[in-house]
């Protein structure tokens, strides 16, 4: 901004004109956004400290909801299952999507077709995906166990009918669904790496593995970081896939945090308590994102 006294009135007029223009562009979207997203996020922090149950007024109960959560075995099961899903889903998806991206970044025929195929699961609805995979996973007649039997696995897992194998089944489907999406992000990242770097590495006699470790991976650092952040949030909020595929079962073997929130609020009308669980979910996602950004910043400097 110029500070000469003579230009100040004009500047001020420009600023106020820009403010009006700016807000009038943003307003139509902002009204909806503020009412439907910002406001609910703020209200959440109030409801979590009440015993609201749809009927009657919400009564302020302080930290009662959080103390109750501490002794709630189902809450801990849901949290544990969410972490279980996350711990496997993130590395598996990272490896699969990076592998696919590296494969597609080569001059092979049919790459374009394959990119379409890989992205397809991501745009297919959860309901259709869940019901197909449930048929594929069918313990006695499904093709997956038939394949396992063909390669000599004797007692093939019961997948979604067994409490030990239902979570692995969900993780497999989750990875299958999302790897094409992250593959696209990696592919975009790969193309920002200058070709000269590879040429230089090659003249220095670097093996393909060395090129991967010393050129590709450092060049992808930014993308990998971004993908990890997205994957973390996506994993912690996993819900609809599990809801349709296993309904949290058998027993509570695939019950996750989001589903627990849903059960407590929309099935049992305990909106206050469910909001407290929501805050935990929110806090986890938020703090992990912040930590990741801090670590990334330190590594960059």
């Amino acid at each position: 901004m110029a500070t000469l006294p003579s230009t100040r009135p004009r500047n001020r007029r420009l600023v106020s004109r820009n403010t009006v223009a700016g807000w009038s562009f943003i307003l139509p979207n902002f009204v909806g956004f503020a009412v439907l997203t910002l406001l609910p996020v703020l209200v959440l922090f109030y409801v979590a400290f009440t015993n609201w149950n749809v009927f009657g007024a919400a009564e302020w109960t302080g930290t009662a909801n959080f103390r109750r959560m501490w002794d709630d075995a189902s809450f801990w099961t849901a949290l544990r299952n969410t972490v279980y899903y996350t711990v496997f889903h993130i590395p598996l998806t990272l490896a699969a999507s990076l592998g696919l991206a590296l494969l597609l970044n080569r001059k092979l025929r049919g790459v374009r077709f394959f990119r379409t195929v890989a992205f397809f699961p991501y745009i297919t609805s959860i309901v259709a995906i869940a019901v197909v995979w449930n048929q594929l996973f069918s313990p006695e007649y499904g093709p997956i166990n038939a394949l396992l039997g063909a390669v000599g696995v004797d007692n093939a897992p019961g997948w979604t009918t067994s409490s030990t194998w239902s979570m692995p089944a969900v993780i497999i489907v989750g990875t299958w669904r999302y790897m094409g999406y992250y593959m696209l992000l990696f592919l975009a990242g790969l193309q920002t790496i200058p070709a000269q770097l590879y040429e230089a590495a090659e003249t220095d006699g670097a093996t393909p593995w060395q090129r991967f470790v010393h050129v590709t991976l450092p060049g992808l650092r930014h993308t990998t970081f971004f993908v990890t952040v997205l994957l973390t949030i996506e994993s912690f909020k996993v819900f609809d896939l599990i809801l349709v595929m296993t309904g949290g079962g058998p027993g509570q073997s695939t019950l996750v945090l989001s589903q627990y929130i849903y059960q407590k609020s929309f099935e049992e009308n305990q909106f206050g308590y469910a909001s407290a669980v929501s805050i935990v979910l929110f806090a986890i996602c938020f703090s992990i994102t912040v930590i990741q950004f801090m670590v990334n910043k330190r590594r960059n400097s």
């Binding site: 609910p40 929309f266 929501s278």
Partner: protein, 298 residues
């Protein structure tokens, strides 16, 4: 969350491996074969569920699960595709979903691109803080604030109406983000010279930015359409009456009602996926560019 990390614009994808020198000819033949083998295997794994879906949808119910597995329908039961309309309320579900997807897409594209112009090109106090609020909520899972949002919608008398889905889907931060990313790649000088010529901000948006941003608008429209079409949780929470059901909700009730009708369930699934598949195949380029420029969705 800082905007700088998110805002790094990724380049459009060109396939395959452009710019890579074709110099490794000696060792490459073996690697090529390995590469192709890997591609074929991965493609088979990715496609198997879709293959199963289509094949099972054309089988008689008792043929879906057999030992050994039959990989081709014999006889081919086209009848399933007639029966499904009588056995379920497909017409209503598809109609509702189509209506919702179109209204949401229209609103998202119009308000999103409008707001994005304000964020990208008009300088005013508080702009960056406001944009941070938008981007920040992308990191907040919807599941964590669905309860207060539901309370609010009930207070507004919107729950159990199709409007509730329009309301929760149409004003997302995603559209604003995608369009802003795109507008920032358009040279400032263009709007600067238009300003000198006396065009208002709205005029610049309409005459210059909109025509230039057609590809980005297409990306946003397609991504929004597909997201709304596929949404399961929103309708699950908000739409209670059977006549308001969307295709995802309807399909899921059909599945729990007729859980032993394996073939018909697959027929319904194919029908629910088909429109999205067609849209995707037609507008593939826009999907991929949209994802690459934002890297943000889902």
């Amino acid at each position: 969350m800082t905007t700088t990390d998110l805002a790094a614009p990724a380049p459009a994808i060109t396939v395959p491996g452009s710019g890579r020198p074709p110099s490794r000819r000696v060792a490459s033949r073996g690697w090529r074969l390995v590469g192709y083998a890997a591609l074929v295997l991965a493609a088979a794994g990715l496609l198997l569920p879709f293959y199963w879906m289509v094949v099972a949808s054309l089988k008689t119910n008792s043929d879906v699960f057999t030992i050994p597995i039959t990989w081709l329908p014999d006889p081919v039961v086209w009848r399933n595709y007639l029966d499904i309309w009588q056995r379920s309320d497909m017409t209503t579900w598809l109609g509702n979903t189509l209506l919702l997807s179109m209204v949401v897409t229209l609103l998202q594209v119009v308000t999103g691109s409008f707001a994005a112009y304000g964020f990208a090109r008009v300088r005013f106090p508080g702009r960056n803080a406001l944009f941070l609020a938008y981007v920040g909520t992308i990191a907040v899972p919807w599941q964590s604030y669905m309860i207060p949002q539901f309370i609010l919608m009930s207070k507004l008398q919107l729950s159990n109406t199709l409007w509730s889905i329009v309301a929760i889907q149409a004003f997302g931060a995603f559209g604003v983000f995608l369009m802003k990313q795109f507008y920032e790649t358009i040279p400032e000088e263009l709007s600067e010279s238009a300003r000198v010529d006396g065009l208002s901000e709205f005029g610049i948006y309409r005459r210059i930015m909109l025509p230039l941003s057609r590809p980005a608008l297409a990306s946003l429209a397609l991504l929004t359409f597909v997201t709304t079409w596929n949404d399961y949780l929103g309708p699950l929470i908000y739409l209670r009456s059977p006549e308001l059901r969307t295709i995802q909700l309807g399909l899921n009730t059909f599945i729990s009602q007729y859980n032993a009708e394996y073939a018909l369930i697959m027929t319904g699934s194919v029908l629910s996926v088909l429109p999205v598949a067609v849209i995707f195949l037609l507008g593939q380029r826009y999907f991929i560019e949209g994802i690459a420029t934002t890297g943000l969705k889902g």
